[in-house]
Symmetry: C2
Subunit: 218 residues, 2 copies
DNA sequence: ACTTATTTTTAGACTAATCTAAAAATAAGT
DNA sequence: ACTTATTTTTAGATTAGTCTAAAAATAAGT
């Protein structure tokens, strides 16, 4: 598999439910930042290699083989992200671009030894689960903070938006994985939330509340 | 710089004395495992980018800029090799192919943090010096074991051939960086050497003796 | 110096991945 | 159902890197 093929497979995986859902050519093109004509060409190529199911004009989905390939790339991406944060003093907003490169390094031994070196982490710095070498991973029940109820305690377990801007916003407000929240007020006017955590109060917009994952309750 | 351009620059560096010496198109082609016509094309491209000095039919050498670029790639290659051996249980014969991939990862922070994480190593697992971020490195005085004198003690400080076959040969004979040798006999017939080290004797061929670097004396 | 051999460059073609523009298929609107 | 809009595919070009075959330059041999 070429680097580009790997990126398409990963893109299709993220677009549908683990790539099982059929996604449109346009959606793929947008995700890969190319044009629809380029996406069509690549989809054909991946279809020839039995990595995707493709019927003209009907969209693509990953085959079992394609799903495994995607999970393998994602496993590498997330393990490298853990490495960068845990061992090389990267912050969670700095890791993604480097992991995009490192995920394409080909060496079974490398990734398995890295996994062991990091003590077989189950989640990456953004709270996303890390597949094991067979593609299996825990998916914990989580909801977006925007849907949390008043007077209950929730734990921050992940972020939806992983942009630098958003992650830095969380940093400056001392919100991290593991932070315990209580929603003390929901403002009907703009759906903003008043949160209580670490003995401080903070009002966050709905936009923010939709991008924080919290555990189902505590 | 593309991955291929980086590999050519590195190749030219290794062929001449740090790339200062002019090397032939054929030599470059052979080192890159391509044809002379492909080498010519790439050399022209590198020349346009001011990375090499090139006059038609007269061979290539690296410019100051090209030398720095080469040393940067070699720095990355060797630091990754140290990482693989020190942290991920790779043996010295397993690291090269993976390092060939890792050396192309682009991130200043990554490589400088890796350097710090490894405690600023000065040599890689094969005894080759690691340039610092400015391209400076220690070159210790060394000779090939084949040129060592009788009755003197030498320390193994490097290997010339880094093939799996040779490195495994050294492993099975318990020869490693730091091993202290005494040459107790030189056989004039085939230039083989009888060595004494670790309280054992071993006869090595001239071929072997030409591929082990030892410190000037001790 | 002149012929032959070798090295190097050029010319033209191929593959992977991309693009623009045009054609074909599907979806939507009345 | 028929027209219009949107999506998707095809056709033809482009760029990076490679190749083979032919031409040009350099090196060697007498
Ligand atoms: Mn990421
Ligand atoms: Mn992540
Ligand atoms: Mn190496
Ligand atoms: Mn090395």
């Amino acid at each position: 598999m070429t680097l580009t093929e790997e990126n398409y497979i990963k893109g299709i995986y993220h677009l549908g439910k683990q790539g099982k859902e059929s996604v449109s050519t346009n959606a793929v093109a947008k995700a890969m930042k190319t044009k629809a004509s380029s996406a069509t060409d690549m989809i054909k190529k991946l279809s020839d290699k039995q990595l995707v199911n493709y019927v003209k004009y009907q969209g693509v989905s990953l085959t079992a083989q394609g799903q495994l390939a995607a999970k393998n790339i994602i496993r590498k991406h997330r393990l490298w992200e853990v490495f960068l944060v845990e061992k090389l003093n990267f912050t969670w907003d700095e890791v993604h671009d480097v992991a995009e490169q490192l995920e394409h390094i080909k060496s079974e031994k490398l990734i398995n030894e890295l996994d062991a070196f990091l003590n077989f982490p189950k989640y990456d710095p953004h709270g996303d689960p890390i597949p094991d070498k067979n593609g299996n991973f825990n998916s914990i029940d989580k909801i977006i903070l925007a849907n949390a109820e008043l007077k209950k305690i929730y734990k921050c377990v992940g972020v939806k938006d992983t942009s630098t801007d958003f992650l830095r916003y969380l940093d400056t407000n001392k919100i991290a994985l593991g932070t315990l929240f209580e929603v003390i007020h929901k403002e009907p006017f703009d759906n903003s939330l008043k949160l209580m955590y670490n003995n401080t109060e903070l009002v966050v917009s709905q936009h923010v509340a939709k991008n924080i994952f919290v555990s189902i309750e505590l």
